[in-house]
């Protein structure tokens, strides 16, 4: 009965480096979302995975951002050539198969990324 977990909890990197953020969804949850939360702001949608279907990448802010998910398991969000504006908390959420939008999204604790 573990919840959504994310690692690392905090990540400090230098401008220009690549980073990988990991999300472990709740077992059995086929849907997985990544959101970004800039300081003092609400969450912005980044990308959505549903089983083995092609992901919805409509929220990714640039081609430096990409994400993968194998089946219904772990997902990784990769940011290449990080910029200072990428500094934010990256939150992952998972849910059961979407039906009319009423399945609750369960959130992980997020990864705080700081780009120096």
């Amino acid at each position: 009965g573990a919840g959504v977990s994310q690692s690392p909890s905090n990540k400090v990197t230098e401008k220009g480096k690549d980073v990988e953020l990991r999300c472990d969804p709740i077992s059995g949850h086929t849907a997985l979302y990544w959101y970004r939360q800039r300081l003092g702001q609400g969450l912005e949608f980044l990308i959505y995975f549903q089983g083995n279907s092609a992901p919805d990448k409509s929220g990714l802010p640039s081609d430096r951002f990409s994400a993968e998910r194998t089946g219904e398991s772990v997902s990784t969000l990769t940011i290449q050539r990080t910029q200072q504006e990428d500094s934010a908390v990256y939150l992952c959420a998972s849910s059961l198969l979407w039906t009319r939008g009423d399945n609750e999204q369960f959130f992980g604790p997020g990864t705080r990324l700081t780009v120096l």
């Binding site: 609400g42 969450l43 908390v89």
Partner: protein, 119 residues
């Protein structure tokens, strides 16, 4: 595209008193869900309450209730008998109920309201 607006960056309430947090949204859809999430300093997003747009009755969860005004596109959260543990960021969120095929039904969030509870 849908937008969600929270016009109160910060609110303060005395312990045991009642406070109302405001939220307005813009959509052309008729079938959707609205949510209030709580985010304490731990960063964990916690679902507080959910409202289905096709239901006229306002949702309630213990000390938390909403005032849903569909025509006005308003969705406020009332916290009664405020407790110190209620201090957190509160986010209003919208989610379409319409199938988007392969695309997900992501949540659209407002900017948040920081609630402070005074002992």
């Amino acid at each position: 595209a849908q937008t969600v607006t929270q016009s109160q960056p910060e609110m303060s309430v005395q312990e045991a008193e009642t406070v109302t947090l405001s939220c307005t949204y813009d959509t052309s859809e008729s079938d959707y869900y609205l949510f209030w999430y709580k985010q304490p300093p731990s960063r964990q997003m916690i679902l507080v309450i959910r409202q289905e747009a096709y239901k006229q009755q306002n949702a309630t969860e213990n000390r938390f209730s909403v005032n849903f005004q569909k025509a006005a596109k308003s969705f406020s959260l009332k916290i009664s008998d405020s407790q110190l543990g209620d201090a957190a960021m509160y986010f209003c969120a919208y989610r379409s109920a319409r199938s988007r095929g392969n695309a997900g039904n992501m949540l659209t969030f407002g900017g948040g309201t920081r609630l402070m509870v005074k002992p």
